[in-house]
Amino acid sequence: MINLSSQDELTSPDTQESSGFRHPLRVGILGTGNIGTDLLMKVSRSKFLACTAFVGRRKQSPGLAAAQACGVRTSYDGINYFIDNPDCCDLVFDATSASGHTLHLPVLETLGIRTIDLTPAKLGCMCVPAVNGDDCFLASHINMVTCGGQAAIPAVFALAQSQPTIRSLEVVSSVASTSAGSATRANIDEYMHTTEDGIRQLTGIASKVMLNLNPALPHIDMQTTILAEVPELDLHQLYDALDPIIRRVQKYVPGYRLIFKPRAEGGRLVISLRTRGRGDFLPEYAGNLDIINCAAVVTAEQFAAYAPAMNDFVMAPD
């Protein structure tokens, strides 16, 4: 079981300047769709990160035009941009697709560029900042699990910590149909299996993951419900474990909250969470996209704050 004590202060590292932070970490963003463009806005706001390359594959991508207008260096050469400009950045966020990332990873590793993967390729160290941010600190390759994983895993972690026995566990997420982009829609199986793997790796619990897309207008907020059979359920202990971890997530995703106090209903434990986004590039209802981007950015910020000489940290590829 992972010890949480060292992470109680997890936050954007505003207070870290005295501990060695000198220069913003130079980050590249690969993928100029919704996720990539929203990431760009979050990175631009960060004191600890500077976007030095915004790279896609389609010249006409609206994300590229928006980035150009903000004065960010852009390219539509895809992964080749990094091959041609290996010193352009210290870290790349990959916001393409699972199959794209599988191709990009070996190239970025050879170039000595650290990666934070936002696709469900699950090749790197799976990271949910509020749960195991520290474990990924030395990894050269981080995977952000999935949006549903970012929302569910902190609560499942609290559940696993506070209850002796959990007989079965399910995670049901519902998101607005328009917040699921074409890559998500084509990869629902990967979403489900990667979320299940993330839950198992970070909490030790086997689960079944489900996903609903709802086209209702006005758009529904991202909702994540955890259902579990817990033979000796202690709701007070659960709440005591849940409250601090939810507050830790709120430090990077302010719109993350319980919909109602966890309760036993129909012989099951029900924990329902709503995630509203910050409304940067994507609307507030798309909390599913916001939470994975916020988690990726806070992870990169931790690197920036604690490891200014990033290249010394990145493990050489074998």
């Binding site: 079965s168 049901v172 199986d189 299996h193 897309l213 209702a216 109602f260 329902s272």
Partner: protein
């Protein structure tokens, strides 16, 4: 004489009526009688399809594999079908194993505006050499032209038929006619219809579908299905026959199927309760009845009010967790002003269609 293919989801939709507790013996017994009657497609599974047995949607008594192998070994002529919803079942965990157990027909079902998420599964099923149909659920929530666009996506991926489901039992016969007629023109593949009987219109709506060009109709023994149930096979088959359509099903055979169901499977035929009527008017999934009644009991809220609020929020099958949330919220509201008639008038679909 025009031929209509009857597809029978008694052992799948009917599972909703018994909280997914259909047994191996019931599957075996029903399959033998239905096969003998000449029913061409028999579907088995959890009410929400393969991979859906869960705390969230209810655990089935039997595993998918047990249901499929039992049905397989008790069918000689009928083709064996399953229902699968992307987001609940995956290829690796559920669909591929089902096909290796001898499933012939896979009905890939999505909410009526989300057909693009079905394409990968339809393509997979075709590649494995099985028959793939597309299903558009909750089809009252989209216009005829939108349904036609969605159905064509499924056709483009290789679907060999597209079936509209009236999952809320909402439609009047004219609604069915408009939608089926549009699909029949737009598609080069057969069009099907799956009725629910909330307003006592399951047979009339099925007939309207056939007259508008549908050639595949779902019926279940004694109407055994979610909520108010489906079109009853033992009524559907003779009605179609009297209208001059050939189903290839033996009359005494289908009556035997109904008698078997009455004795061993659906002892209490589904009927229209006040919950069924309000969920039709609110456009809410028929299968919500059981969890709504439970949430109503636990919170002391009028179940009709819960259904009305679920309809206002356009909550879909699969979002059963929202039932608890809505019930808790309503229980806090000491002076609820969400009256049911007001909600029905606020529902744009109801607003246009409730007027005769």
């Amino acid at each position: 004489m025009k031929t209509i293919v009857i597809s029978d989801p008694t052992l799948r939709d009917g599972n909703h009526a018994v909280r997914h507790q259909v047994s191996i013996d019931q599957i075996a017994g029903y399959c033998r009688v239905a096969d003998k009657a000449g029913i061409p497609i028999i579907e088995v599974g959890h009410g929400n399809g393969i991979g859906a047995s869960s705390l969230h949607l209810g655990h089935a008594r039997c595993s998918d594999a047990q249901m499929i192998t039992t049905a397989r070994s008790n069918l000689q002529n009928a083709r064996l079908g399953i229902h699968m919803i992307p987001g609940f079942a995956t290829i690796k965990r559920d669909l591929a194993p089902a096909l290796t157990l001898g499933v012939n027909v896979v009905r890939v079902a999505t909410h009526c505006t989300e057909a693009d998420i079905s394409l990968r599964y339809i393509e997979f099923v075709r590649k494995q050499g099985a028959t793939a149909y597309g299903v558009l659920m909750m089809s009252h929530m989209a216009s005829p032209s939108e349904l036609a666009r969605q159905a064509r996506l499924m056709e483009s991926a290789g679907a060999e038929s597209v079936i509209l489901m009236d999952s809320a039992g909402y439609f009047l016969p004219t609604d069915v006619k408009d939608r089926i007629a549009m699909l029949a023109v737009a598609l080069g593949i057969p069009v099907g219809f799956h009725a629910h009987n909330n307003l006592g219109l399951a047979i009339a709506n099925s007939l309207a579908a056939v007259e508008a060009g549908a050639t595949m109709i779902d019926g279940t023994a004694r109407g055994f299905g979610a909520g108010a149930g489906n079109a009853a096979l033992e009524q559907l088959v003779p009605v179609l026959s009297r209208y001059g359509y050939d189903t290839g099903i033996d009359l005494y055979g289908v009556l035997d199927v109904a008698d078997y169901a009455a004795a061993d499977l659906a002892r209490e035929a589904p009927n229209t309760t006040s919950i069924g009527i309000i969920s039709s008017l609110a456009g809410v999934f028929s299968g919500f009845a059981t969890p709504v009644l439970r949430a109503a009991r636990e919170t002391g809220v009028d179940p009709r009010q819960i259904i009305a609020e679920l309809g206002r929020r356009k909550i879909l099958a699969g979002q059963e967790d929202s039932i608890v949330e809505v019930a808790i919220e309503l229980s806090k509201n000491t002076n609820p002003n969400v009256s049911i008639p007001a909600m029905v008038n606020d529902n744009p679909v109801s607003n246009t269609n409730l007027r005769p």
